[in-house]
């Protein structure tokens, strides 16, 4: 008998086709070697294992000398030592390998130039890989959720997770980042875990071991997923202990360690090749350096890639979590613990905003787990059959989807970075205005920089010696007379231009001697200074080792050339030791 093609199958079929069209649409005008292409920067860093293995055999002398530069610096080539250095692990490369080989086969059959794994065909196949794993992830997540909720809730949850979170961005636009692959592994892990808990067959345990090991290989912090093995669906600590004993059974433990070893073997070999050691910490200069002062508030609420400002639907995940905890529902504690663990992981990581990202991307794989409290919340509201509550929830859900899609399509599709300060809400409000989500005033009124966001750092390297807020400040350059603090072109402020700009910055001098430095301002046409003013620092920064506020209102001349550039800098003719932090620029558009 012919099998019926169910509504569910149609749903996934349509989702697959739509996702394919969208990923093609988002990349169709992107060239191969720019930040809008599939393989750029971090994405190239994950991918490089494949061309390095199958085209170059890790011989960097056979690689184009500038391959690392033209692909955005996601890895580096050292032709002197003949080493290829990528800090990313090889899990993503393993997962996209079937697509890589298919692209190679198609290239050969059609007579295309494979360009050593960087042809347009390879790029398109990597986009396809992300879509396939996205669909599989959503499919397994739906199957998993159906153990707990009715099908309508399951479909609603996976649709909202796809359209209402940054999974959409990291599957269809930046698909070669690790998140969509981790999301698939997490979804399948949850499904396999549920099946294992229902019937503890060895095959499910083997699959669980494989999935956990691969997740760890992709992102070592994914090890916290293993926590669910002990707690999911468990009714008490006795159950936890029973599962721990189960894992510690020699056969189980041996199998898990063997899978972990086999999957990690290519990575160990690579680290040995790179550093001479089997184990190597590739994230040099990074790490969990914020463990003493975790950035919880910033990770969750900051305009710089905070979880809730960019993925407001996550508020409903948390609402569901609290609801489950309050009602002592099964798995509420597990989901909440996972949320806390991932938040701790992000908040203690040195670059807590994860560079140029769209929202808190480290949570994406955990949305698979958050789907359970989210489903709980939705189910609860819908089963109450209260018209106002249901309408309000629908409206909020639609609004969050709208915000996410608009943010993605109108904003982050072009701009991959957020160019604002940790708590600069004015900039965030204007970003919402630019993407058309809110009708923001077109005029920029302030600019803040606490020098934490590397995307707007005015100097090459920040200082960590003295800081007023956060981890970084700017140290006056000892080699040159001027250390930049801020610059902008007049056209970025829009016409009419401001009449004055109030500048406030906090400065610290370690010594007690006068520095001879000043807070400088200039309006430049290229290198030519058209207008300049200064505020001597010594009259305001008197005591050593004390942060003092330096402020001055500078005049913007009446000019017609929109290409002129406003510059704020520290003028330091004596090359004194001086630190600056927490810059605030206020634009004044009238004289009164």
């Amino acid at each position: 008998m012919k099998k019926k093609f169910s509504a569910g199958n149609w749903f996934f079929y349509l989702l697959f086709c739509t996702s394919l069209v969208l990923t093609w649409f988002f990349h169709k005008d992107a060239g191969r070697f720019n930040d809008r292409g599939e393989l750029w920067s971090d994405r190239a860093g994950y991918y490089i294992y494949l061309p390095a293995t199958f085209f170059y055999h890790f011989d960097t002398r056979r690689m184009p000398a500038d391959l690392d530069i033209v692909t955005g610096g996601g890895f580096s080539i050292d032709t002197v030592k003949n080493k290829l250095d990528t800090k990313y692990t090889c899990g993503v490369a393993l997962m996209v390998a079937p697509f890589f080989f298919t692209a190679g086969l198609v290239s050969r059959l059609c007579g295309f130039d494979d360009e050593n794994g960087f042809s347009m065909l390879y790029m398109r196949f990597m986009g396809l890989a992300a879509v396939v794993y996205l669909l599989l992830g959503l499919w397994f997540l739906k199957k998993f959720l159906c153990f707990y909720y009715d099908p309508l809730t399951c479909y609603a949850v996976i649709t909202l997770i796809f359209l209402g979170t940054n999974l959409f961005f990291y599957a269809l636009i930046d698909g070669m980042m690790s998140h969509v692959f981790s999301f698939f592994l997490f979804s399948l892990f949850l499904y396999a875990l549920k099946r294992y808990l229902l019937l503890p067959a060895r095959s499910w345990f083997m699959l669980l071991s494989f999935l956990l090991a691969l997740s760890i290989l992709i992102r070592p912090t994914n090890i916290i997923l293993g926590f669910l093995f002990f707690t999911w669906d468990a009714t008490g600590t006795a159950e936890w202990t029973r599962r721990l004993k189960q894992l510690l059974k020699p056969s189980h433990l041996f199998f898990f360690l063997a899978v972990l070893f086999v999957l990690f073997l290519p990575q160990l070999v690579y680290w040995k090749y790179l550093s001479g050691h089997w184990l190597h910490f590739s994230y040099q200069g990074e790490g969990f350096t914020n463990w003493r002062h975790p950035k919880f508030a910033a990770v969750l609420f900051s305009p710089v890639n905070g979880l809730f400002p960019y993925t407001p639907v996550a508020l409903l995940f948390v609402a569901g979590m609290f609801m489950m905890l309050y009602r002592k529902a099964r798995n509420g504690l597990s989901a909440a613990t996972m949320f806390v663990l991932v938040t701790i992981t992000c908040a203690t990581w040195k670059m807590w905003y994860f560079g140029c990202s769209f929202g808190q991307r480290s949570y994406i794989e955990y949305y698979a787990i958050m789907a359970v409290p989210f489903g709980y919340f939705i189910n609860h509201v819908f089963t109450r059959r209260n018209f106002i509550a249901t309408t309000a929830l629908f409206f909020v859900l639609f609004l969050f989807i709208y915000v996410n899609l608009r943010f993605t399509v109108a904003g982050y599709r072009y701009e991959r970075c957020y160019y604002g300060s940790t708590w600069d809400w004015d900039h965030f409000y204007h970003t919402l205005g630019k993407t058309g989500i809110l009708a923001a005033d077109c005029r920029t009124t302030t600019f803040e920089n606490d020098f934490e966001n590397m995307a707007i750092l005015p100097v090459v390297r920040p200082s960590q010696v003295f800081t007023r807020s956060g981890q970084y400040s700017v140290a006056a350059d000892k080699k040159v007379e001027e250390t930049p603090l801020f610059s902008t072109r007049l056209d970025e402020l829009g016409y009419p231009y401001p009449k004055r700009i109030g500048v406030e910055v906090w400065m610290l001098k370690p010594g007690s001697r006068p520095t001879g430095a000043s807070l400088g301002y200039s309006l430049n046409n290229g290198a030519k200074v058209l207008f300049s003013e200064e505020q001597p620092v010594d009259s305001l920064v008197r005591a050593p080792l004390t942060w003092a506020r330096v402020y001055k209102t500078f005049i913007v001349p009446d000019v017609n050339d929109s290409s002129l550039q406003i510059r704020i800098f520290i003028k330091n003719p004596k090359h004194a030791l001086l630190f600056a932090d927490d810059l605030l620029v206020r634009y004044r558009y009238s004289w009164n």
């Binding site: 819908f382 018209f387 249901t390 309408t391 309000a392 929830l393 629908f394 409206f395 859900l397 639609f398 609004l399 709208y402 205005g433 058309g436 989500i437 809110l438 009708a439 923001a440 005033d441 077109c442 005029r443 829009g494 016409y495 009419p496 009449k499 309006l523 200074v529 058209l530 207008f531 300049s532 003013e533 005049i555 913007v556 001349p557 009446d558 000019v559 558009y589 009238s590 004289w591 009164n592």
Partner: protein, 199 residues
């Protein structure tokens, strides 16, 4: 459930439409902001000391000498300045900030009289008050005569109030003048600048 869905979709549409309407309004406001220039008005001069810092009645010189750009008709005297594309800038005030009387910069009030015979909207001329630092103008304020509904074929009084800003340097310059931007002719006379300071 269906009606809730429909209502929510309606609310979202309302949100989007309202936002685009407000956004259009904001864009319009921003466009218009470029069309208007800022002016200042000194409404209360009580308790202020007034001193004349410049005055030009154009009575010196021979109107027959074309190099002097004088006309044989005046507001109070017998002569005035003939402004044209050959004489686009009138004399007025040109002073360095350091030469202004000490004790606060206060305001200036510049006054002049103009005569023209063309249509009022065609008088392409401005009474300008501005400061200059390193060759660049700042706090450039003006009265555009073509927008002032002046009366042709008679003397019209033009006044501009201007709060003197804190300059970056004492070397900087404070200026007041008429700038004729048209291709025809216009007469200007009795251009005076008063400095008003709080006692």
């Amino acid at each position: 459930m269906f009606f809730s869905l429909l209502s929510a979709a309606g609310l979202l549409s309302l949100f989007i439409v309202l936002n685009s309407y407000l956004h259009e309004g904001s864009l319009e406001k921003s466009r218009k902001a470029g069309e208007f220039h800022e002016t200042e008005h000194l409404t209360d001069t009580a308790g202020m000391v007034t001193s004349r810092v410049a005055f030009h009645d154009f009575e010196a010189g021979d109107p027959a000498d074309p190099a002097l750009h004088l006309a044989a008709i005046g507001h109070t005297g017998k002569q005035s300045l003939k402004m044209s594309s050959a004489m686009p800038f009138s004399p007025g005030l040109w002073t360095r900030f350091r030469d202004l009387p000490a004790g606060g910069h206060g305001w200036i009030r510049a006054t002049g009289y103009v005569w023209f015979s063309c249509l009022p909207g065609d008088v392409k001329c401005s009474l300008v008050a501005t400061c200059n630092h390193q060759g660049a103008n700042f706090k450039y304020m003006f009265i555009a005569l073509e927008k002032e509904n002046l009366v042709p074929n008679r003397w019209n009084k033009i006044t501009i109030d201007y709060r003197i800003p804190e300059p970056p340097l004492g070397e900087d310059i404070l200026q007041v003048y008429f700038w004729y931007r048209g291709n025809g002719e216009m007469l200007a006379d009795d251009i005076g600048v008063e400095l008003l300071r709080v006692k």
